[in-house]
Symmetry: C2
Subunit: 347 residues, 2 copies
């Protein structure tokens, strides 16, 4: 099993990316192909190279502020394009990048192609802040504007993914909404609701913001704008908790005469601070393209990168992209019965 | 100063509503008119009635599951309609309800009327989890689908509100979005951005989910769907945080041999647990109708109700609705220069 890693993408590339890859090779027992400027990567990988780390040279780098489509077309020798091509050519079983997210997604669509019936591949992210109730979020941020049919496709893709990643036979699918009742929502949610009932998935109805972490659904679907806002609001809350914790700690430690740092360390040991840390995220999986593509957080340091590679290795091990393609082909036959939603929304 | 309170609305009505009203009368030195079934309210208010608690009889109650417009029209003697009419007739200076939220908003629009230039009155809620960076959210949940011009109106209404409630001279207005750059966003955000630059407010650009509590903006604007999801996601995070705290506490208290309950109490004393509790919310203010209308959480118990009445008293004291009406009239002249946004979105 070989995972191609964009060594030049992300705020902390290439150093932290290479460190994460070296850790991942050891922990997940997989081969890793670092894609990027070979002269730098040779030095960084150094003695760790053999037997599990390979390097493939790519002379160009796509920066964060570049326009995705233009960047993919104008930089054929970028670490992003070269890495995705390794996957296309079967020289890698999965691809991971923390670089320009738009470029990773557009590049995957253009080079690997979309699975039949999928118009807008979404990102799927596991939110596991509540260990008793992990939940997958689709779309975690790619498609800002969606039609109801897109949400149906997200639910179908996500169902197959959840079966494999969460090990749940009939994943419960919830629609992110602003109320419980079927009639609630913005136009997108109102129109998507009846389609989701006929989508061949285990649709359980609406999920409100406060229910996301309660374990009512295994999978929640929404447009990429709302998905992004949910995800980042959770990140921000995590930040503010840690801020409040610090001031609470000083009060408690002085009252009980215990040392602040020890106290914090013990709280951390009880896992919740760690769980809310995006550095622990395993990355997000791009659903609906012909290949296993994982998106790592742009601010990934070595630990986050290691975890993202772990997710890629898991997907590659299961041959997940191929399974999703097969299952989606069945959904496509069934979706013929669904009304094509209007692409015009009157507000 | 007299605050009309819908004594029959909310999950814990009428008992907790009346308790909250009695506390509020004492704390905020205001008169309160309880609206609802007099025979019950007389018993509940009992000895606390004089001199500050009055009762106005209303024989009907609008339930949570009723259709707002139909309920307002078919129940002229409901506590909701009678209460809003007291405000309309100048017999009260503000109105508060924890009942059917749609009915409260529609009732306010129909009975009090909208301020000139306002098509969709939004709810404005103060999020003060981070005491160093309180932020107002507009729309906190009324208008699920919005046009760009609505967000402009939210920004203008919210600016005047923030000046009074936060005491900030030039409130910084942020647009909730899924990225930093001007070109980011769904169609609504992309189209609203240039309008907000010309809206006569202190527009500072996009605010992502993780920045909401960081103090970059005094006021954030978004459609009511996204606003609702943000708010409820924050509620849910608060819940999961308290869950994690419990398990962390047992570890720490056994390690340091301190008692769990004392420990929790001390943490609470340092205020952050309390701040995340919706029961502490002061309610949300309905911007852009001709009168001071406050929305209390449907699950309000006495403390939340007391705080919502406190907000209503503050608004009444300042004559806030009148100030907003005047200031909006100035904005209206200026908005003539803005392009009317298309009410059709092609996705």
């Amino acid at each position: 099993m070989n995972i191609a890693v964009d060594a030049m993408g992300g705020d902390y590339a290439p150093h932290e990316i290479v460190k994460g890859a070296i850790k991942a090779a050891a922990e997940f027992d997989c081969d890793i192909t670092l894609v990027g400027r070979a002269e730098i990567l040779n030095v960084l990988a150094g003695k760790h190279r053999k037997p599990h780390i390979n390097i493939v040279n790519a002379t160009q780098v796509i920066e964060f502020n570049e326009h995705p489509v233009r960047a993919i077309r104008s930089k054929p020798d970028s670490s992003m394009v070269v890495g995705i091509k390794l996957l296309k050519e079967g020289k890698a079983d999965a691809f991971v990048s923390a670089g320009n997210s738009g470029a990773e997604i557009v590049g995957s669509m253009l080079i690997l192609g979309c699975v039949e019936g999928i118009e807008r591949p979404p990102l799927c992210l596991l939110i596991d802040l509540n260990p008793a109730a992990p939940v997958l979020l689709v779309d975690a941020g790619v498609n800002a504007d969606c039609r109801p049919n897109h949400l149906v496709q997200f639910a179908q893709l996500g169902t197959v993914y959840a079966q494999h990643i969460l090990g749940v036979e009939k994943p419960r699918v919830g629609l992110v909404n602003n109320g419980e009742e079927e009639t609630k929502g913005n136009r997108l949610a109102v129109d998507a609701y009846p389609l989701l009932k006929q989508a061949g998935v285990n649709f359980i109805g609406n999920i409100e913001g406060h229910e996301i972490l309660r374990g009512k659904a295994d999978l929640i679907v929404t447009d990429g704008f709302t998905g992004n806002v949910i995800l980042k609001t959770i990140e921000g809350m995590s930040e503010i908790f840690q801020l409040h914790m610090k001031s609470a700690t000083s009060l408690v430690s002085s009252t009980y005469n215990v040392q602040g740092e020890d106290f914090i360390r013990n709280l951390k040991a009880s896992t919740w601070l760690r769980r809310m840390d995006y550095r622990e995220h395993g990355g997000a999986y791009l659903l609906g393209v012909n290949g296993n593509v994982v998106r790592a957080h742009g601010r990934s340091q070595s630990r986050a990168m290691k975890n993202a590679i772990g997710l890629a290795a898991e997907a590659a091990e299961d041959n997940l992209a191929a399974i999703i393609r097969e299952r989606q082909a069945e959904f496509v036959k069934q979706n013929v019965a669904l009304p094509e939603s209007d692409n015009t929304v009157h507000i």
